[in-house]
Subunit: 330 residues, 2 copies
């Protein structure tokens, strides 16, 4: 058995200088004038009267940090998940390997994995007056077909994987991934950005790594507080920043990473095209943005969930090398 395979079976112990969790952000909201509701606490029981009026705390977010020994990263490495998901994205992969949280911890990064506003341990709000939208959950076939795992619409039912796909799509692993899916609120972007900025204020200057929906939060947080973002790593960002403020990104080095199967996808050519155009605007304003299409580097088969794909360590190494080349790791 190869040394690499042995290592995957029994990884080395990890020494933590410290670890823990905290919440940041949020605001107090007063609800008044609402009718008292009847609530059923136990099926078949007697409804209880609940008064929904009062002061609530909403819009905060959750973060868990790990500081390894020895510490080699020059700043905390913040990992921000995508829509309909939580920080679990960065933890153990759906087929049970170590995730990017572990990969970067083992290389000496202080890693902070968070749950964005309205998702996971951030909690979510009962106050429609504030969030104004609805929450959507994905059906089991949706990510399979939309995250470039299966070969387009109907592929989940057909069991039709994209050829060479690296996502662990055996039934057990795929269902482990679906268990990570949480409802997605549609109109909480402003609250989410606000709490991400509060997170940066708490951690201090950091490297920010984002996935998918968090593309917009990474770009916009860096535009709002470029002093707090040492570098921005965007894994298949689904949205861009504020086009009117690209000059704010002049001094923030940026890496964008895209996976495989994009040209043949219904949506991703447009999403990638928007991202690349935004990158060009940042460059024109004096910024530095590297765009990596993995297949052009000979790294093939990556779905939208690159950090979970079977070759996740190979892509993590590409990111790690990029950060080291920018002097952010010693």
């Amino acid at each position: 058995m190869a040394a690499g395979a042995v290592k995957a079976q029994a990884p080395e112990p990890l020494t933590l200088e410290r670890f823990g969790s905290f919440h940041v952000g949020g605001r107090e909201v007063v609800v008044s004038g609402q009718p008292v509701r009847e609530v059923l606490f136990t099926p078949g029981g007697v409804p209880a009267r609940v008064d929904p009026n009062g002061t609530y705390l909403m819009g905060s977010m959750y973060a868990q940090y790990f500081v390894p020994r020895p510490l080699r990263g020059s700043a905390p490495l913040l990992m921000w998940h995508g829509g309909g998901l939580t920080g679990v994205t960065w933890e153990t992969t759906p087929d049970g390997r170590e995730g990017w949280q572990h990969y970067f911890l083992r290389r000496g990064w202080h890693v902070v994995v968070s749950d964005a506003v309205e998702r996971g341990r951030a909690g979510w709000s009962q106050i429609p007056e504030q969030t104004g939208g609805q929450a959507l959950t994905l059906t089991v076939d949706n990510p399979f077909e939309r995250f470039r795992i299966g070969n387009g619409q109907g592929s989940y039912q057909r069991g039709d994987l994209l050829p060479g796909n690296q996502f662990p799509a055996d039934r057990e692993s795929y269902m482990n991934f679906m268990r990570q899916v949480v409802p997605r609120f549609t109109t909480t972007d402003a609250l989410t950005l606000e709490s991400y900025i509060a997170l940066l204020e708490r951690t201090g200057p950091s490297v920010v790594m984002v996935h998918s929906q968090a593309g917009q939060f990474g770009w916009r947080a860096a535009q709002a507080r470029p002093d707090l973002v040492r570098a921005l790593v965007l894994i298949e960002p689904a949205a861009v920043g504020d086009p009117a403020r690209v000059e704010a990104l002049r001094n923030v080095p940026v890496l964008m990473v895209y996976g495989d199967y994009i040209a043949q996808d219904a949506r991703w050519p447009t999403i990638r095209g928007n991202g690349v155009r935004f990158a060009e605007a940042v460059r024109a304003a004096g910024g530095s943005v590297d765009v990596v299409d993995l297949p052009e580097r000979g790294i093939r088969g990556n779905s939208h969930m690159i950090m979970m794909d079977r070759n996740s360590d190979e892509v993590a190494k590409l990111v790690q090398d990029w950060l080291a080349a920018r002097g952010l790791w010693r």
Copy 2:
């Protein structure tokens, strides 16, 4: 400065043999015949059409495990949170000290902190046909007055703490605690128990430590699978098990811990009374249940959130000593 205070400032590094996370449990649910909805993804934008029909995965739960080196606990130590909260209960305290997760890890326990069905990283369901109930969120004054921090109704507004109370109730710490509060579903008990049993099947025989609402899940999981519960530690359990099946608990040693201010509270004399009566029934069936009222041991000022109180380490030591005395730690 005392040695203890120095230690609190700069705790020793911790070596982990491994750590990671996973989801367990859940079921596929088919939704059909529902109308297509209009959903607003961006405020001021154009509503999109969303078809809610399809197959969903619901009712799973999340767990994060840490295996320290050296390992001294004889079984995994599972920590189950109370209603309206998540696994964060057991992590860092609201005033930033190490929580019980750290306390037991540092003593060599393999610790598993989880988020129950419909809370935190377990996600929650969009499918009212399945959950059948409503979700409630607590106002900021509610836990202050109900968890024996403040002196009864109106005490939050009055800033009226119970005398000698150990909960870190300065405004910053209390708001950190409120940020941990998540909506509570009222009719998901069966799903929750089902996934806790799936968790035990995954971890194998374990020590189960529960808080508050999880009292019922700890008792009932032990009744369903006594072969998988090496011991049961109930921190202020809010509910009991199945009175018709007390004999299933014959071989599961049980510790129940209650804090201070119970006699003068509106609800806790009844809740504790129910717990103690259930304990007597378990003993009558041949089981072993120890009931500890902390004030009787000279440990005073504990709220309902004992694992967050300023003397949390003192109570953790009492639990640790009990587990060691039962041969579960070496």
